[in-house]
Amino acid sequence: MHPIEQFQIVNFFSLGHLGGHEIFFTNSAALMLGAILLLTVFLVGGTAGGRLVPTRLQSMAELTYEFVATTIRETAGHEGMRFFPFVFCIFMFVLTVNIFGLIPYSFTVTSHVIVTSVLALVVFFTVLGYGLYRHGFHFLNLFVPKGVPSYILPMIVAIEVLSFFSRPISHSIRLFGNMLAGHIALQVFAGFIILLGGGLGAIGWIGGVVPFAMIVALFALETLVAVIQAYVFAILTCIYLNDAIHPGH
């Protein structure tokens, strides 16, 4: 099996035409919808009771709330809490689809750069829009560092602007690249077992224990990466939002 076959988009059924293109409901869309349904059930179920002594589901929901709220307060301050729903959605969505991707025969939504770049662009335009709305043209001072001699200022401003505009790229490539590389590595090691067994017979299958042990170790690492990358994506969102909220701090 080819290592990148797992990233194949499969069309399930057509949703109609839009601008001359046929829009399909794909395996990617199915997993995104599944993630949203699961999160809705989890959060609605977790908050429906509202008991003083929480049930297991309620304490899990409270734990995720506390975790994201602490992250936002630490990186974007108390005012950052107005973006709590936004950051919470992004974090929970990325986390859930990352973990769905670990299920064998499943599909990793975040291993497609189009998904992560749309998420990163939403963050980017939120930062830009809110910064301009909140601070007006004062927000543009973000690109003009103080204490720079005027003869090199135009160049510094150009570099700062380019640095700002390159944020969505590194923001999206990081999540996409980590998920893609991890899943390819898993598939390559799985391929080694088949190659050994197919080529050398019984000795090969015994030798296949080595790559199999690698897969177990890599899978544990990938589980960690799935959670960490969701967290990194959320924390970077907070750091970028912090620029829009407190450019003068």
Binding site: N141, L142, P145, K146, G147, M155, A158, I159, E160, L162, S163, F165, S166, R167, I169, S170, I173, R174, G177, N178, A181, L221, L224, V225, I228, Q229, V232, I239, D243, H246, P247, G248, H249
Partner: protein, 68 residues
């Protein structure tokens, strides 16, 4: 964080800057017909922005803020 993730993070910062610079330069050349000067200038600026991003992400220089 694993070494791979760290490496990927830092390299994406650098590549991001260069890609944005090249994109803007190519776009300007395309619209204004200044080829190849837009591309040359903006790739160089983009490279500088990438290095700046890289150093900020690595914590070598301070994060940008307005009171600097």
């Amino acid at each position: 964080m694993s070494g791979f993730a760290r490496g990927f993070q830092l390299s994406s910062e650098l590549v991001g800057g260069v890609v944005v610079g090249a994109g803007i330069g190519w776009g300007l050349d395309h619209w204004l017909g200044t080829s190849p000067w837009g591309l040359i200038v903006f790739v160089l600026l983009g490279f500088a922005a990438g290095v700046l991003n890289l150093m900020r992400a690595a914590g070598v220089v301070r994060q940008r803020n307005l009171n600097d």
